[in-house]
């Protein structure tokens, strides 16, 4: 039985996380959402290290990364993902508060699949997340899982 891959959400701000989770939930996605609080935790999850040592191995359907996070920011996580052979195929969406050109360019240089600025208006935000979830978790064909 094929299990839907989870969505990894890296977001330090609890409110943002809650609203994002609300928006995702609002979309009735079957995928499980794994929420981590910063970049270090995100990588621990991806590499099955630390508190995720015991999780079932496998890459998420998509990694949604906030940029500004404590310890390790989203761009550093992106860089780590793209430089590790076992992780580099994971679709990554940068979901950030600011339309900072520097971040935008840097992210695309490092190989992000999308860069989305969180709209201030919640309804728009919900729409955006709905589309994101729908696209990456449902429509998008994922690369084969490495054995």
């Amino acid at each position: 039985m094929h299990e839907l891959r989870p969505i990894l959400l890296a977001e330090d701000n609890p409110s943002d996380a809650e609203l994002t989770l609300e928006a995702l939930a609002d979309n009735n996605l079957a995928n499980r959402v794994v929420h981590v609080k910063d970049g270090v935790e995100a990588l621990e999850y991806l590499r099955c290290e630390g508190k995720f040592k015991t999780r079932k191995p496998g890459n998420p359907a998509v990694a949604i990364l906030d940029i500004k996070m404590p310890r390790m920011d989203g761009i550093e996580v992106l860089q780590a993902i793209r430089s590790e052979p076992s992780l580099k195929m994971i679709p990554v969406v940068m979901l950030t508060s600011s339309m900072e050109e520097h971040d935008l360019i840097r992210s695309y240089e490092l190989g992000t699949n999308a860069y989305v600025v969180k709209p201030v208006k919640f309804s728009e935000f919900v729409d955006a997340v709905k589309q994101l979830g729908g696209f990456w978790a449902v429509l998008n064909e994922l690369p084969p899982e490495p054995i």
Binding site: D16, L19, S97, S98, M99, E100, P119, V120, F122
Partner: protein, 648 residues
């Protein structure tokens, strides 16, 4: 001068020929006169000598006839002498005189004087030696026939020698004479015995029976005449010539003197001019403030201005006596450059530009001074190298100022570096601040809106209308703040993004701005007036933003008009292109024009015209970054005109 002499030649020759002819003629006349005078004088003298001799002989004849003969006849009559006695040695005066003359000639010879040829010639001589030749016979006839003729003289040539021939008739035959010269039978018997022929007999009284003649050589006299004539003539000629040439000389000397005087005047004028010129040059050279000199090819000083003392402490005399001072006082680091900055003499170019170099010297008092040296090679008219002419200007004060400027510049540079670092760090801080604003300030707003939305969607039933209004207001305020933050961020970004400068078609830019604008505009009627715009250099995206903001403003503030009229124009003046956007909208009061371009400054309430007040501030920031200016004109309710300029 030589030209004048040549020109005078023919004149001088003409002037000379007439006096020369006159002088020759006069000289010939004078010489002839002298010749004849001297001849006459010497002939007379010779003649007198001859007469002297002849008259002595006559005296002797007279003595014989008048004294000796009577004395002898008295002695015969007294019987002291026999009747027949006759001796020519005693009785014949011609015999006695002829032989006396032989003795006279002997005496003359002894005294070294010329001898005289003497002859008593008769057509009827007793002694045949006295016989007259043909010429002498004719003379005897002449004297007998013309008793007035008392003498005969002639110069004659004999064997190439000149002689004076002088003859006088012999004593007239008297009765006494006939004693011996009468009839033969009447003559003394001794006489008859001695002379057998008829010679000397049969004479008649009152007749000249002989001539006495003397031939005297006159070569010496003639030579004397010739020599004297020549001498005197030559003397006179020389004197005349001397006079003539003296006069000529005086004239020539006079002419020469006046020429020389004129030359002297000329020379004096020239000398004066030269002196003045010399003085002018000397003044120019000596009263120079700079230290000037002319150094010959051998390193000796041809000239050095007295001002060298003011600059170096050494007098011009010291420099002249020891040209080595120049190198000696030059700073060791500058010596080579000063000595070698002139191009190699072999390759020097006559039209070479002056050569510059700066050098230091140590003055006599030990002070170090800086000089700006400029020199150039000197050549005479033939292109001969005569050394170099140099001028040294004291630039010690300049150098000190320059060094001060260098120091200040270095300090300033350091300060700029420090300030730039500070600015860079401030900029980084600002960037971090903006980042944090965009990221962190937006997040709570999003949260407010998100939670308000969740509240309304989940708890709508628990809220009355007022509650819903409050919640709406909270959400609207949050969104308004979000817009403000977004605008502020964009404004900040326009100041920070890296600007590219490229040439662009302003028409294309404007059209893009218009299409962006029309996407968001309502059904408002706008009459656009857009001419062909010139190309400019700048950042494409930023300038497009300028047009968008200005045109959007024009549209926004003229939307109360039935037909909005928006005109774009461009003109070039004084190195910049000025663009203007004119609308017929609500305009503004000129007293608030200063606030137009301020951040978040608005002249209209937001209920009337929406907006945050960031548009014109952004325009100003972009145009300023392009090196241009922005300004505006307007009148309340009569439209507005916004200008911006870009440098060409």
């Amino acid at each position: 001068m030589s030209n004048i002499t040549q020109d005078l030649h023919p004149v001088k020759f003409r002037r000379f020929i007439m006096p020369a002819i006159f002088a020759i003629v006069a000289m010939v006349a004078v010489a002839l006169g002298i010749y004849y005078s001297l001849s006459a004088f010497f002939m007379k003298d010779a003649e007198d000598k001859i007469k002297n001799v002849l008259f002595s002989h006559r005296g002797l004849h007279s003595y014989i006839q008048k004294i000796m003969h009577p004395a002898f006849y008295k002695a015969r009559d007294n019987g002291d002498v026999v009747q027949q006695f006759y001796s020519p040695e005693i009785f014949s005066s011609s015999f006695i005189v002829r032989n006396t003359h032989v003795f006279v000639n002997e005496e003359m010879k002894k005294a070294g004087l010329p001898e005289f040829y003497y002859k008593m010639a008769s057509v009827n001589p007793r002694n045949p030696v006295n016989i007259a030749d043909e010429f002498e016979s004719s003379l005897i006839r002449l004297f007998n026939e013309n008793r007035d003729v008392r003498e005969f003289r002639k110069v004659m040539n004999v064997d190439g020698k000149k002689y004076l021939y002088y003859a006088i008739p012999f004593l007239e035959t008297k009765d006494n004479c006939l004693k011996c010269h009468g009839k033969r039978q009447d003559a003394p018997p001794g006489l008859q015995a001695l002379y057998p022929g008829e010679g000397g007999f049969n004479e008649k009284a009152g007749v000249y029976r002989a001539v006495e003649l003397i031939k005297m050589p006159i070569n010496d006299e003639l030579t004397m005449v010739f020599v004297l004539t020549c001498s005197i003539s030559v003397g006179i000629a020389v004197t005349f010539m001397l006079f003539y040439f003296n006069r000529r000389l005086k004239t020539v000397v006079g002419e020469k003197t006046s020429t020389l005087e004129a030359e002297i005047v000329e020379r004096k004028v020239a000398e004066e001019a030269l002196r003045k010129s010399e003085e002018a040059y000397r003044t120019v050279a000596d009263f120079t403030y700079d230290w000037e000199y002319w150094m010959a090819a051998d390193g000796s000083l041809r000239y050095i201005s007295p001002s060298c003392e003011r600059h170096t402490g050494y007098t011009s005399e010291e420099f002249r006596q020891a040209p080595g001072i120049m190198a000696g006082i030059t700073h060791p680091d500058d010596r080579d450059e000063l000595a070698s900055h002139l191009p190699d003499q072999q390759n020097r170019d006559q039209k070479a530009h002056p050569h510059h170099t700066d050098f230091r010297i140590t003055c006599k008092n030990g002070e170090e001074r800086w000089f700006a040296h400029v020199c150039q090679p000197v050549y005479n008219g033939d292109g001969e190298y005569l050394g170099q002419r140099a001028s040294n200007r004291d630039i010690t004060a300049n150098k000190q100022q320059q060094q001060e400027i260098y120091r200040l510049n270095a300090e300033l540079e350091q300060r700029v570096i420090e300030r730039t670092a500070q600015l860079e760090s401030a900029n980084k801080e600002l960037e971090a601040f903006c980042y944090s604003v965009s990221h962190d300030l937006r997040a709570p707003l999003r949260h407010i809106d998100g939670y308000v939305d969740l509240l309304v969607s989940r708890c709508r039933d628990g809220l009355d209308d007022k509650g819903l209004h409050f919640v709406d207001t909270i959400a609207a305020s949050a969104r308004q703040m979000g817009t403000l933050i977004d605008d502020l961020l964009q404004f900040s970004r326009t100041g920070r993004v890296e600007m590219r400068r490229e040439s662009m078609d302003m028409n294309k830019l404007l059209n893009e701005a218009l299409s962006l604008l029309q996407d968001s505009s309502s059904e408002q009627t706008v009459e656009w007036v857009i001419p062909d715009l010139p190309s400019v250099r700048g950042d494409y995206a930023l300038l497009r933003q300028v047009w968008v903001n200005l045109l959007a403003n024009a549209v926004k503030y003229s939307r109360t008009r039935d037909v909005a009229r928006i005109e774009v124009s461009a003109r070039q003046e004084k190195g910049e292109i000025i663009f203007a956007v004119t609308d017929n909208g609500v305009g503004f009061d000129m007293q608030y024009v200063g606030k137009l371009f301020g951040v978040f400054q608005r002249l209209h309430p937001v209920e009337e015209f929406e907006g945050t007040g960031i548009g014109l501030a952004t325009v100003q920031r972009i145009i300023n970054r392009h090196g241009g200016r922005v300004w505006a004109e307007g009148e309340l309710d009569k439209g507005a005109r916004f200008y911006f300029s870009l440098p060409v």
